[in-house]
Amino acid sequence: MSAATLPAALPPPEPAGRGPAFLFGFDGEAFASRRSPAQRYWTEYAPASRAHRGLAAEFALALVDAAGRLGRMEIAWAGGPVGLAAAALAPRLGLPARVLSLSIDGLGPPTPMTGLPARRIEARFEELEGFALGFARAAGCGNAWAALSAFAASHAQWPVLADHGEVRLLNHGIDERLGIVAAPASLALVDNEGFTAIDRWLGAERRPGEAQLLRRTPELVAAQLDSPSSRGWMADALAGGAPALRAWTNHAARGSMWRRAFPGLRHAEPRAAWPDPAFRARMQRLSLRMRRARPGCATQHFTPLHRLLPRLGLEVPPGLDEDARLYGRVEMPAAAGALEPGSSGAGEEAP
């Protein structure tokens, strides 16, 4: 990472006392755990209170904000961009941090050389497996890669910054199985229930930590959606035809978003850091076993982009609200009603 990619002067952190930028919940309970498969999972994004300052600056601000809450922190790197960017920025921002990196059966990305003190954990796949199945049952998650991030975090001795999260966008108009444009573009942000399993697990373990750095401030969410890569993805998806077919999800755009914001970053997504085919096949089988260990936790929540962008103070590209015209509007409530928080914050086990 080059210093040139960092903002010259960091804006001051947000005043304390703002509500959470990101909430998740099941039916009427926020930051809770699933109690039955019939409960509806949802996620909610708070409105932005100012214009964003670009991805690199907003990421740095969110990191400073998280460090302010955690004190010294251990960045549990699983090979993803969140942990890598945090490890690269922390020493420049003067944040007390160290890196924890992971190798499994001798595989795994090398510890990033960022100038931070580092620790390396050598584990066996069987250990990851055992952890992942318990994680699936406790937190409701059928995704072995999320379990890998949590497994890394489980070795932290300080408050942990989990290397986790992505802003995943999807065009519902694409039928990826048939490889066709099946309907006009309908764009949404996707939140899998498993993406917040690590929050539930931290809560259940009563571990101080940050699992959603990418959602820590509305302005960081806005910066990701407003990045040239995300905007390019939206334009392709809305264009229809061949460009739309290539832009079913923003998988490629996420990689280019990180490379543009932090030109020195090596890895675009956690899985790329674990390229071994046998390892990946085992991870796939592990996901399956996790879903069997805890069925019914694989739901998704979609936030239509035509609703999210204005909330974050972002321009809505032409054509984006076509599905609102078709499926109807939602009147904004005067004030969002308070929800009951889960009684213990997180980690209450569902039967």
Binding site: L23, G25, D27, G28, A30, P37, A38, R40, W42, T43, E44, Y45, H172, G173, D175, R177, L178, I180, A182, A183, P184, S186, A188, P295, G296, T299, Q300, H301, F302, T303, P304, R307, L308, D323, A324, L326, Y327, G328, R329, V330, E331, P333, A336, G337, L339
Partner: protein, 198 residues
Amino acid sequence: MSDGHETPAGARPGAARERLRFHEIDFALWRREIAPLWHMEGAVHLVAPLVNGYGQLQYCGREIHARVRHVPLAAELDGTRIAWTSIYNISDEALRLRGIYVLPEWRSNGVGRSLVAHAISLWPGRFGRVFLYARLGNVGRYRRWGFEIVPGHVPRSHRTGIEGGQERIVQMMLRRATEEAVDRAGADARGAAPWLPP
């Protein structure tokens, strides 16, 4: 009788003399009884209350809990449930029908149509559009019920049931205010299906 199903002796509505009744039923009961539609008899607890339908659901965040009203329904004849559907609002202006299932021996007697009309009639008129995903074999029938294929939509894949058998489905829409057919069907529903043989 359609679909090659034999009518059990004495099971015709004509023999029943009772009239069709529609009830909102408990979701747990609903999902157990409608599960054969998706081949999910062995995993009933995994039948979700709401599905998004490729971008239909316009509510997000806690609105999903606070503002979506999910109504599981059954049609009863002589005190026996013979058909199921469910309906919920996907926005402040539109509805979605999810799952329409009539027991084989009662199909093609107007039961499905009349249950659907009843489901829609529960909602005020400002919910002016009703969406559903139709299996391709049902498109003609739903056209006769007043639905049209949503412009720009073509058949797409759908994974049905836990074993993941694939089907082609297409989205259809009914405009409540303009479709005379709906009014007719709605009147049928409100009149407790007068077309059933006495």
